[in-house]
């Protein structure tokens, strides 16, 4: 019989349950086509299989001249709300703790070649994404992945996402023990578990082998585990410190300690108990308040701990909680080759630079882990085939994706390093500078993401090219910096934990949108993402390279010996840093420099959400721009207060900044609003919140509620956490006010909002 489908060809190669799930998903596609499933139900179904939307999937795209309808042949068929069936999407592929083998890498390369654009994209949570995928190709794509042991189940949607783990687990010199088997057990225990099917929002888990390094970045996860050991009755026993309620997103939250010294046998039931409490009490209607961090803030940590303990007591026993423990070995991987050392043989050109930055000496003598630095997290199908061959020849099975969007090869015998370098170099995979300043992390941004505001990848590529050009002359302190870029406030590029982070936003000038990036300074990558940076000002996108040079050169010149960037920012002060960037914050006129009105790597005139812009009305400054500048000044004062430990004043200034931004919008409609906060908030609610004019397309009323909630419920006591959060909220509220002003202007045509200063 001739085999004509992947389903037939792979039916014995896929684990039966997974095969059934994929068949069911394919049936659901058919039912949706027949109109028997709603957009809402099918949308969540598709997301839970990792099939995500992509930019322009609403069928609208601004081509630089005008917004045009993309004439997909879908004939009205949709795959979710405002999501056209035939529009390409993104397929996220879960790679638990980033671990993959050469065969899996090869299959993903084939899928990229057949269904996507020949590129595998590594994400900041160790997934691999394929872009420009047609929904109807996804069942076969999933089958081909399933045949090599990969599932996309619960890669998106309100579910337990990919579980992250340190890519050095098992070979790290500072870890307590290898977290790999625990991350693996957690992955398969929770995947599809009944207790994780009713979340109001996504749920992210990470494992770290040690406290001090970046590792799994547990401090910004919903649930995080840090390995530790102690001697009990004369034996070394394994434990975890368990963290809950962390998250980046628009307003970042540091995770809190749920419990210390949790025995290894307890982590699965405890996670199940956490999941049950989250499913039962977590917010379901308002997705902007539905992450675990909000539930913990609402209940208080102690009450949450109590509820989890109570839930744990009544859980029905499950053998899987501990059955995997008998198979946990001291070391989870076996080296392909015996340990050796570099023996003085001639080294290939470029080897030394690469060796200095991309090679990590494992705790197992004679072995190294090497990092393959992937620009913007991208590797082509051809490179992936080559890398699979190199892995097979030198290390066997052991590849891992990292949260810095790279791949690592573990268990490379030292003597093989020159040969591995040469093999990688042949395929353009031996770039030096891994995890250094040229190794910039970036989310997809406006390239493919529906939520992207500015081009994070365009900016990252530009910064990277400039830095590589002058890398030899960069001060060592600059070379060590972490740079991370997000296309919007949602933090997928993890800008909060970078030394220098950027997130995309937009400003209006002469009734045109201008791409900007907010500059976020002083985050801490180490200590599992130990501190979050703070925004110091929004700069036109085209000025970011100059701002970057100014900040880094000042740091290199002013820092004390061994002073980190995080510490230097603390000492130098946000006010002084603001003075550094201030000269770059202005936007020239369109006539002077039209390039400021386009983004990096994209010559189209910049727009927001594909909404058309009005004709240029000449050189005018709107009332809103004047008024909102006061709000921005107040928000910056809050930052200074925070910096200097005046938390009460910082919180008050942040609140005032929101009131002023609301006033700026109101005064376009009601010039005599006055200064009374009660009246301003009331008018804001009536005119902009209740009418949904202030609503973000995706975040809806989230940013408006920051003001309404703070005004209605002033905090009884204020600590650093609350002040910091209020400042983040104020900055986002101001960004939303800018977006609202731009949206209303665009809707009304040129200068739609009365321009009282024109």
């Amino acid at each position: 019989m001739t085999i004509t489908t992947w389903k037939d060809q792979l039916q014995t190669a896929i684990e039966p349950t997974l095969a059934e799930e994929i068949d069911l998903f394919e049936n659901q596609l058919e039912l949706k086509k027949q109109g028997k499933l709603t957009d809402q139900v099918f949308g969540e179904t598709r997301l839970r299989r990792g099939a995500y939307g992509q930019r322009y999937d609403n069928g609208q795209r601004h081509d630089g001249i005008e917004s045009r309808t993309l004439p997909f042949p879908s004939d009205g068929l949709t795959k979710g709300a405002e999501t056209i069936w035939d529009a390409p999407g993104m397929q996220r592929i879960k790679i638990p703790y980033g671990g993959l083998n050469p065969e899996q890498l090869e299959v993903m390369a084939q899928l990229a070649e057949e269904y996507s654009d020949n590129i595998l994209h590594i994400t900041t949570r160790q997934d691999i994404q394929l872009h420009f995928i047609h929904l109807e190709d996804t069942p076969d794509l999933m089958r081909r992945l399933g045949a090599v042991g990969i599932t996309t189940r619960e890669a998106c949607g309100n579910s337990v996402r990919n579980i992250c783990g340190c890519p050095l687990a098992g070979v790290c010199r500072t870890e307590a023990f290898d977290i790999t088997p625990y991350a693996d057990a957690m992955t398969w225990f929770l995947m599809g578990h009944d207790d994780v099917q009713d979340f109001g929002r996504k749920f992210k888990i990470a494992f770290s082998g040690c406290e001090d390094e970046a590792c799994g970045l547990v401090r910004f996860h919903d649930l995080g585990y840090v390995a530790k050991t102690k001697i009990v009755d004369g034996e070394v026993q394994r434990f975890f410190d368990v963290y809950v309620g962390g998250g980046l997103g628009t307003v970042p939250h540091q995770a809190k300690v749920l419990a210390e010294w949790v025995p290894e046998a307890e982590i699965l039931p405890q996670a199940q108990a956490v999941a049950r409490v989250f499913a039962r009490l977590g917010e379901k209607k308002n997705r902007n308040r539905a992450r675990l961090k909000f539930l913990i803030a609402k209940l208080g940590l102690e009450e949450f701990q109590r509820l989890v303990e109570e839930e744990r007591k009544i859980l029905p026993h499950d053998d899987r909680w501990t059955s995997y423990l008998q198979d946990v070995p001291e070391q989870t991987e076996v080296a392909l080759k015996p340990p050796t050392f570099l023996n003085g043989a001639p080294l290939p050109k470029g080897f030394n630079d690469w060796y200095a930055t991309n090679v990590y000496h494992q705790r197992q003598e004679g072995y190294t882990t090497i990092t393959i630095k992937l620009p913007l997290g991208d590797i082509s199908s051809d490179q992936a085939y080559a890398l699979a061959d190199i892995a097979r020849e030198f290390v066997g099975e052991s590849l891992r994706a990292t949260v810095e969007q790279n791949l690592v090869l573990r268990w490379v015998s030292e003597k093989d390093l020159p040969a591995v370098f040469s093999a990688l170099d042949r395929w353009g995979l031996a770039d030096p500078g891994a995890e250094k300043v040229t190794d910039i992390t970036s989310c997809p941004g406006t390239d493919t993401c529906k939520l992207g505001i500015a081009s994070s990848r365009g900016l990252s590529a530009e910064l990277r090219d400039r830095l590589i050009e002058k890398n030899g002359s960069l001060a060592p302190a600059i070379q060590d910096l972490k740079v991370k870029v997000s296309g919007c406030f949602n933090s997928c590029g993890q800008h909060h934990v970078a030394d220098i982070g950027f997130f995309g936003n937009s400003r209006r000038r002469e009734n045109r949108a201008v791409p900007h990036f907010q500059v976020v300074l002083g985050g801490k990558w180490k200590e599992n993402g130990g501190a979050y940076g703070l925004a110091v000002g929004a700069v036109p996108s085209k000025n970011i390279p100059a701002v970057f040079d100014t900040i880094t050169e000042t740091y290199a010149a002013d820092r004390n010996e061994e002073e980190t960037f995080h510490d230097w920012i603390g000492r130098y002060g946000k006010k002084e840093v603001r003075n550094l960037i201030q000269p770059f914050m202005d936007v020239p006129t369109y006539a002077e420099k039209p390039e400021y009105f386009s983004d990096w790597g994209d010559p189209r005139e910049f727009t927001m959400s594909d909404m058309g812009i009005g004709e240029c009305a000449g050189e005018v400054v709107s009332l809103f721009e004047i008024e909102v500048a006061r709000a921005e000044g107040e928000a910056f004062d809050a930052l200074i207060d925070l910096d200097e430990g005046r938390f009460v004043e910082a919180e008050a200034s942040a609140y005032k900044a929101m009131v002023l931004a609301a006033r700026a919008l109101i005064r376009n409609e009601y010039i005599d609003i006055g200064d009374d906060p009660d009246r301003i908030v009331s008018e804001f609610k009536t005119r902009f919140y209740d009418t949904e004019k202030f609503f973000d397309r995706f975040a809806k009323g989230k940013f408006g509620r920051y003001l309404l909630s703070r005004h209605a419920n002033p905090p009884e006591s204020i600590d650093e956490d609350i002040a910091r959060r209020r400042i983040e909220e104020a900055n986002l509220f101001i960004e939303a006010a800018h977006a609202c002003d731009a949206k209303l202007a665009a809707e009304a045509g040129s200068g739609g909002i009365p321009n009282l200063l024109a």
Binding site: L70, P71, F72, Q110, F132, H134, D378, W427, A461, P603
Partner: protein
Amino acid sequence: MIPERIQIKLFINKAVSLADLVPVFHGWIQQNELDGLVLDVADYRHVPNGPGLLLMGHEGDYALDLADGRPGVTYKHKRDWPAEADTFATRLALAVNRARRAAELLNRDTGITVDPSRFEIKIPDRLNVPNTAGSFEVIQQELLNETQDVVGPIGAVLNVAGDDPRKALTIEVEMAPVVAI
């Protein structure tokens, strides 16, 4: 043996600045210059010998591709074939014509020309056309017997993907030298 996906590559004999092509590609979308629904530009200039600069479309993707260190204009048809494209030859003809149209536009807007003496056919469809000696044999015969009126007189058909089963079947077609009469 009818592939669902066919890619044609017309080689360029000199180095190309992809940065200069970004606005050109956006211009082609604005002016609706190409056949098929073209959606957006995807920029992979940073990937060595990678897919280069692409114009992602619904039925097919155009690119200035850098794979194997050999720059070329590519067109990959991937779905929604017209009803009349129901044989290898008719599908090949559609893909070749679209690649040639992109090459004409490139020449018009940048002066870049393609090498008329050879082109590449890649078939990224491992289900219907796996990279085997048998597939190569079938496609070779199809090329020689059914397609020369579309692609021109063929001199030789070479299997360039070798026998690596992971790879897509890839064939280089050398055109027959033009004989002056």
